[in-house]
Symmetry: C2
Subunit: 342 residues, 2 copies
Amino acid sequence: MNKTKGTQISELGEFGLIERLTRTLPKHNASSLTAAGDDAAVIDLGDEALLLTTDMLTEGIDFDLSYFPLKHLGYKAVVRGVNDILAMNGTPQQIVVALGISAKIMVEALDELYEGMRTACDELGVDIVGGDTTASLTGLTITITAIGRAKKEDIVYRTGAREHDLICITSNLGAAYMGLHLLEREKRVLKDVANPEPKFAGYEYLLERYLKPRARKGVLDALREEGIRPTSMIDLSDGLASDLRQICKSSQCGARIYLERIPIARQTSELAEEMHIDPVIAALNGGEDHELLFTVPLDKQEAVMRLGLVDVIGHITREEAGVILVTPDGEGIALKAQAFDR
Amino acid sequence: MNKTKGTQISELGEFGLIERLTRTLPKHNASSLTAAGDDAAVIDLGDEALLLTTDMLTEGIDFDLSYFPLKHLGYKAVVRGVNDILAMNGTPQQIVVALGISAKIMVEALDELYEGMRTACDELGVDIVGGDTTASLTGLTITITAIGRAKKEDIVYRTGAREHDLICITSNLGAAYMGLHLLEREKRVLKDVANPEPKFAGYEYLLERYLKPRARKGVLDALREEGIRPTSMIDLSDGLASDLRQICKSSQCGARIYLERIPIARQTSELAEEMHIDPVIAALNGGEDHELLFTVPLDKQEAVMRLGLVDVIGHITREEAGVILVTPDGEGIALKAQAFDR
């Protein structure tokens, strides 16, 4: 009885869809300080604010259980959830876990999933305080909802980037994307082999970056100790190009980033070459990096560099200048967001 | 590479599974006042507490899109999420919505889903403050995470029922269960009919109870105005038998409920008779009622009755006495939880 004709979601894209669904939502509570449009919602608690974010992972789209160990999946699910709190410069404290469980999933598999979630929670000082389980006719589905706290004046929004601010990232990019490609290739090659022995030698770093991304809480702690407050920040989940454009759109500014300053790991370049993929595409559009992208005022340049924890890849410009990638020979290319729209 | 042999989840049941997964979870934050085991988690905010709960609905298990209008589904998803906050005697304030969207779902369908969510939110004074969308290879999946606030001393846990307390419910039971059976019957009967005209005449109330359950915020407001604080409370989602046993287990008590006091709507009885289902089974084990089951001290009997909003169906006893259904001829039958374990 429901319509099956109409507008495909791919015509709007994920961002367009969210904008459409949330554009007319009313506000009943004064404590709802923000609506959709940042990594996490901000709820007023007086001097402090509560940060709230939810993240769903579905089997076959976000993970493939034929090669994704459940322990790592649990770990990654928590890191993804918690990262959205970190990207607001908040302290993650609690999560709740909703699971849709298909018949093929055994209790022991869920033990492993929970072991991974627990490891991540222990590392990040986060408590699992509740959850929900329901049956699923098909694949495993995991929704992690994370809450955290921050002093209101410490919260970093996507809207705060200003002209001349420096653009920083917390690690090299594209490694997770190449890790995923490696896993997919070995799965394809070994599809009909009785005792498959996938060839991962030399590329273990890429697998780890895809299967077990680390939350960069330590970088935020270090920035805080140095008295450096980012002016804007976002979790790098959709790829540098898309996420930088999000910052620029929210902050109504442009950006120039320099190709030779974008760190790409040796393993990333090597596998990309082997698989005839441009490593720059992996770094710009791969996604799933789960690093932090943030901006700091120009006068913090020395202090930020001294930390040795981040790379400065460019600076913020006026909106009219666009979002530009500068090649080594000085040419400027407008960055398109190729990410995630499916 | 993941195990497919092991313990089936049905061997443990939903409650057993959650107990197993959460039994050894550590606590890193003093603000995590409770772990799993109630309708919502309780987070310390000083004088007040934050209530946090998550609820996942999966297509084919929790709803069938061939007869479940998306507008109603959105409404029901919000009511289910918010009910867990109400069942702690809290005030729901914000929700975040995570959607897993299959390719057959069009943008217009999501508009309808959001329209229903928005209607429920407007009625309940709740804001949608964020969300996540991801693709889903198969069915639609909805996770609603709700937060609310309560003064600490107002929070009602499942653990507070005491001997002699009265057992109250906020409406008749079994109607949603029969509504579901009616929808399933008409779907079956009209499977191969070109222009199906399902026969719902006379049973509209049952459909409404299943498709569009109401949150009983008004009852809680009335209790508060009368100065009546429930001693224990739970959302009636798994059926009276199962949920009453949850209260008794958490409160380490027994219960006696009286069959002739359990309200069953006329339409429920009529359809049950037509379909050769025992209406008492529908009321005890049907589930999805989404009413509130709570206990109040014996001395509040008159005040509670005066409200005219609840039915008193029995009282709390000592643990040794068990959880007993008393038939009209005075016989006592031990209540088993048949609910929801799949």
